[in-house]
């Protein structure tokens, strides 16, 4: 008792100035969690609300729109996450060696991060317009600088599920590239040059040096990128919302359920499913990477 009183006394000022932020953040987090659970497991009917019930989850599992969104989201993430890593890795490898004007180019590479996401989405909306957008014009060979006719008819990019989601993915990867690049660049620069020197004297080829030194030593940075990016891709909202309106992912289906179906309960149920997917996939990715790192270090 006296120990607690002593602790409280010496730390009083600290506790007082810490309280507002802690209460605000953790309080809201608890309220949000409570509310999302309450909404998802409540069924509002003329006879009054029913709680708890798995009604919305059962209804969703039978809803073809939800099923399609679910499948799309899984594909979107399975393609998007590795793509984010690969693009970041390539960008970082291109920029890792010193050359004239590297600082300027590095600053240029950070530009996508500074453009508001909604603006990037709108730019892709304009570029991939149908029938007269720039991408259609160029692929149809209508410009003098690229006189090759790749296709004879314009493509309705936003009118096809596959293309709409690929364009969304392009936007997502374009925007996130600087973050992945900076993390991997920091990882690359942390690898000592002497290791490469030693390998070179022992006669290792460039590809051997890359596969046996760079990649294994880069796994911590790459794991960070994979874990962070997979969460981001799962919950991506703005690009598919603007560019793939007719082909919802789970995140955009939440918006549709809330605004079009006017069903906050079903929207919360979708949100909860998305949250579960994110948590499970993060744990999975984390363990796979840990296992992989162990294997790589042994070799």
């Amino acid at each position: 008792m006296t120990r607690i009183r002593h602790l409280a006394k010496t730390n009083l000022f600290g506790i007082v100035i810490l309280a507002p932020a802690a209460l605000y953040l953790l309080g809201f987090l608890l309220i949000i969690l409570f509310k999302v659970l309450e909404l998802a497991f409540t069924r509002v009917s003329p006879q009054g609300p029913l709680f708890p019930t798995a009604h919305h989850f059962v209804a969703l599992s039978r809803n073809p729109e939800f099923r399609q969104a679910f499948v799309r989201t899984v594909w979107f993430t399975l393609i998007g996450t590795p793509l984010e890593l690969i693009v970041g890795l390539v960008a970082a490898l291109l920029l890792v060696q010193a050359f004239k004007g590297r600082g300027v180019i590095r600053s240029l590479m950070i530009l996508p991060l500074t453009i508001p996401t909604i603006v990037t989405a709108i730019m892709l909306y304009i570029m991939f317009d149908f029938p007269g957008g720039h991408v259609n014009d160029i692929l149809m060979g209508r410009h003098a600088f690229f006189p090759f006719q790749v296709m004879s008819h314009p493509v309705d990019w936003r009118g096809s599920g596959f293309f709409a989601l690929m364009v969304s993915l392009f936007g997502k990867v374009w925007r996130d590239m600087p973050i992945s690049m900076l993390i991997i660049l920091a990882g690359l620069q942390a690898i000592g040059q002497d290791q490469y020197e030693a390998a070179r004297t022992l006669g290792a080829s460039a590809s051997q040096r890359f596969l046996r030194i760079t990649l294994p030593l880069l796994t911590p940075a790459m794991s960070t990128v994979l874990v962070l990016r997979s969460v981001e891709v799962w919950k991506e909202f703005i690009f598919p919302f603007i560019l793939a309106g007719s082909y919802p992912l789970l995140a955009t289906l939440i918006e549709r359920a809330y605004h079009e179906w006017r069903n906050p309960n079903e929207a919360s149920a979708i949100a909860l499913i998305l949250l579960a997917l994110i948590i499970v996939s993060t744990i999975l990715v984390f363990h796979v990477l840990k296992w992989l790192r162990k294997r790589l270090v042994k070799v």
């Binding site: 605000y24 180019i105 996401t117 317009d129 014009d137 919950k235 918006e255 949100a271």
Partner: protein, 283 residues
């Protein structure tokens, strides 16, 4: 001679490949940004071409879109709303986050490190999951369609960042400074507000700019909270304008005005942003 020639050729080939890679990367990064500026200064005839391909450079570059926006009531009001929301979000998250960060750095009572991790990782909670409950709660509190509502939601996103950045700032300030002030008779409150805060100000300014930009860009909370009201922030207005199927040069002009402050400020605080984005990520 032949044996020496092969590696040389290989080095040259890899140089060329590298150079092409750099050029391609710069192109991919710059093309959407170029398109934005190009459309923003396009005249009507370069956008509505009647089946002809859209020119890569407008026939008659013009500033008329920007002039039009300056006298467009909806745009001016949205810009002002965006500004108010962002400044309010900066205020809320700095007033709460800075003292909290100071306490997390200077005090060592049990469980404080867990608390620090917990507070910072609140940001990892997916925004799209929390948005429906937030709107439901804010509807009850009368915060939907208000500047305060959006600012409070943005503060929820930004306070963890403020705590993270400010902790880094306070860690660079030697502990002796507070101790000496207290030996000289200053209260803890006095030494924090009059001695530590002024020293920390440049770092905190970076945090403030960061929060301002986060709020200025933010779409999801702003959209859900303002979707059916008269109020819009700029990103929400852009989305609302999109649903009128307007001419593309109008969209691009709004986009430019929305992006330019962000691009400028980001390069001003780039050093802080980079350490912020990367610090703690690689370990």
């Amino acid at each position: 001679m032949k044996e020496r020639g092969t590696p040389m050729a290989r080095i040259r080939a890899s140089k060329v490949l590298w150079f092409m890679g750099i050029i391609l990367m710069i192109l991919v990064v710059l093309v959407p940004i170029f398109i934005m500026f190009k459309y923003a200064i396009s005249d009507r005839s370069s956008v509505v071409t009647g089946g002809m391909p859209i020119p890569l450079w407008p026939y008659h570059p013009t500033m008329e879109q920007f002039r039009g926006l300056m006298s467009m009531d909806a745009f001016v009001r949205s810009a002002l709303t965006s500004m108010k929301v962002a400044l309010l979000a900066v205020m809320i998250s700095l007033v709460m986050g800075t003292p909290a960060a100071y306490a997390l750095v200077r005090y060592r009572f049990p469980g404080i490190m867990v608390l620090a991790t917990l507070l910072i990782s609140v940001r990892l909670f997916p925004d799209i999951v929390s948005v429906v409950p937030i709107v439901e709660i804010f509807t009850k509190l009368g915060l939907v369609n208000t500047v305060w509502g959006v600012a409070m939601a943005h503060a929820l996103l930004s306070t963890p960042y403020v705590i993270f950045i400010a902790m880094g700032v306070f860690e660079t300030i030697p502990k002796d400074l507070d101790e000496q002030a207290q030996i000289l008779g200053a209260s803890r409150f006095y030494s924090f507000t009059r001695i530590i805060l002024p020293v920390a100000l440049p770092g905190l300014a970076a945090a403030a700019i960061y929060v301002f930009l986060l709020s200025w860009d933010e779409f999801i909370f702003a959209y859900f909270l303002l979707a059916f009201g008269g109020l819009s922030t700029l990103p929400v207005m852009l989305q609302k304008v999109l649903s009128w199927t307007p001419q593309h040069n109008l969209l691009a002009a709004i986009s430019v005005l929305l992006s330019v402050p962000v691009v400028i400020f980001t390069f001003v605080v780039q050093r802080y942003m980079q350490t912020g984005a990367v610090a703690g990520a690689v370990k």
